[in-house]
């Protein structure tokens, strides 16, 4: 069902956890549909200095979350915003059809975290 890459990221996910003093936090999904992803970012010099996630969801949800964090860590916010769910799935060697929609939301969670950061920046101004 899953590619080896998916299983690898599910088994040993990188960047799991929370960032206590995150600069931005984003959450998507809801428990009713079975997937919730929460992303925490730390921003420095317009770049994602640190990123962590917590995910309630299936194997694909956990693997995509982890992969997404890895893909954007160290990238500028502009670059990070361009990440989309399809790219995440591709980086994992693909996902089963029925997982493409519901469990592949990590890029959306990241976008929300960045938005959260940016809106806070505005407030500060």
């Amino acid at each position: 069902m899953y590619t080896d890459k998916v299983m690898e990221y599910f088994t040993n996910p990188v960047n799991v956890g929370e960032i206590e003093d995150a600069d931005g936090v984003g959450q998507v999904g809801n428990p009713v549909c079975g997937d919730i992803m929460k992303m925490y970012i730390k921003v420095k010099d317009g770049k994602i200095a640190d990123i962590k996630f917590k995910t309630f969801g299936c194997g694909a949800a956990i693997a995509t979350s982890s992969m997404a964090t890895e893909l954007v860590k160290g990238k500028t916010l502009e670059e990070a915003k361009k990440l989309d769910n399809k790219q995440v799935a591709e980086a994992l060697g693909g996902l089963p059809g029925q997982k493409m929609h519901c469990s592949n939301l990590a890029a959306d969670a990241l976008k929300k975290a960045i938005e959260d950061y940016e809106s806070k920046q505005k407030e500060v101004k």
Partner: protein, 388 residues
């Protein structure tokens, strides 16, 4: 790594004796039972014997057993076949909201054909209430179909009482006994049913074979059309290797039933109690005692079922889940939802179904590994808060 198979509700390994017999009927005794020659007659004998073996297991007459391609076909046949045969008498069917999809979807198909179906609710333990059945019956009701043991949560339904109601009103009574046959005593006369579904691959027989018990005199139309096999009721060259395997599997499980029922009940309770002791925020799904001896079903909060299954699998433990992600649908188990379990908790359900090969050591192993897996997944979950 230790391998612990705890998914006997999904399917079972075929017993060696049975597999050997199947092999023989594929190679040496490969004839078509309809043939006049010796190859055919040999095959026919095997067919007749298997019919007796299966009949014996459920207290039926051999000529009331009609082999099918499995439980799904038998359920479809019971429901659609009865509806078509009795449509001039009425067009109302009663079933429950926790049936297997093989029954539910047959009912939904009939709704499209103009039949009315009542899907009875269940209580929090997953039990159908007799009162509800009574109230649902109208003078248009032609069929009641309620499963004997639920495949997900293992609850044993009060079929005998429901069948008595049906009989009083001349309503055909069907029960899907796929998860009860071989697990608890099943006797068609005790239960008082007219139609009963059995599947071979749940009782250590081969896949792709099952049967519908049809009580003598019960009106039912065919749903398959063609040759004269199965006394003109179910056409197609008989799956003879499968059928003789099913027959032997039926005989053997009947012999062990009592002993195995006790043994599994103990293992089951040890597993349930052990988990409740070791893991917090766990809910046992289904009735605590009116429950098949092999079934354990729990909801483990704050984590999702498929992730749990994958993690257990990496430790050699094979189980299943009512999680939406394992079914390819968007909603988690319709059974858990019907029992009033909220979506987010239903997503985290875990079903472990015990069988012949499982031992005390298997249970100890699961009790050791499961808490670790849960701990790890909860640590990743945004819903979980250690201090909860």
């Amino acid at each position: 790594m230790r391998k612990v198979y705890l998914d006997h509700g999904a399917t079972t390994p075929v017993r060696t004796e049975v597999a050997d017999l199947v092999y023989k009927y594929m190679t040496d005794n490969f004839g078509n039972p309809s043939s006049v020659h010796s190859f055919g007659r040999e095959a026919k004998k095997g067919l007749d014997h298997a019919r007796e073996q299966v009949a014996n297991l459920i207290g039926a007459e051999p000529k009331e057993i009609f082999f099918t391609s499995g439980g799904t076909e038998a359920d479809n046949w019971a429901i659609i076949g009865t509806a078509h045969a009795k449509k001039d008498k009425g067009k109302h069917i009663i079933t429950s909201s926790i049936e297997h999809h093989a029954a539910l979807d047959a009912c939904k198909y009939l709704e499209k054909e103009g039949f009315q179906v009542t899907y009875l609710p269940v209580d929090a333990d997953g039990m159908v209430r007799i009162e509800d059945v009574k109230n649902a019956i109208t003078d248009q009701t032609i069929l009641i179909t309620i499963m004997h043991v639920n495949n997900e949560v293992g609850t044993i339904q009060p079929i005998k009482e429901i069948a008595a109601l049906a009989k009083e009103k001349g309503i055909t009574m069907h029960t899907d006994a796929v998860q009860s046959v071989g697990k608890i005593p099943v006797n068609v006369d005790d239960l008082g049913v007219d139609l009963l579904t059995v599947s071979s691959h749940k009782i250590y027989g081969p896949k792709g074979v099952g049967c519908l018990y049809i009580r003598k005199g019960t009106k039912i139309s065919n749903i398959h059309f063609g040759g004269a096999q199965e006394r003109n009721k179910r056409p197609g060259t008989e799956n003879l290797p499968g059928i003789v395997g099913f027959g032997l599997a039926a005989e053997l499980i009947g012999k062990e039933l009592k002993e195995e029922q006790e043994r599994l009940t103990k293992l089951r309770d040890k597993l349930i109690d052990g988990i409740v002791e070791r893991i917090e925020h766990v809910k046992i799904n289904g009735h605590r005692t009116q429950r098949a001896p092999h079934n354990v079903n729990l909801s483990i909060r704050f984590i999702e079922g498929e992730a749990l299954l994958l993690s257990l699998d990496m430790r050699g433990i094979a189980a299943s889940s009512g999680s939406a992600c394992t079914s390819g649908s968007l909603d988690p188990s319709h059974v858990l939802l019907a029992m009033g379990i909220p979506h987010e908790i239903a997503h985290g359900s875990l079903r472990m179904t015990l069988g012949k090969a499982n031992t005390e050591e298997d249970i100890d192993y699961v009790l050791e590994e499961l808490p670790k897996v849960v701990e790890r997944l909860r640590a990743m979950s945004p819903l979980y808060n250690k201090k909860q």
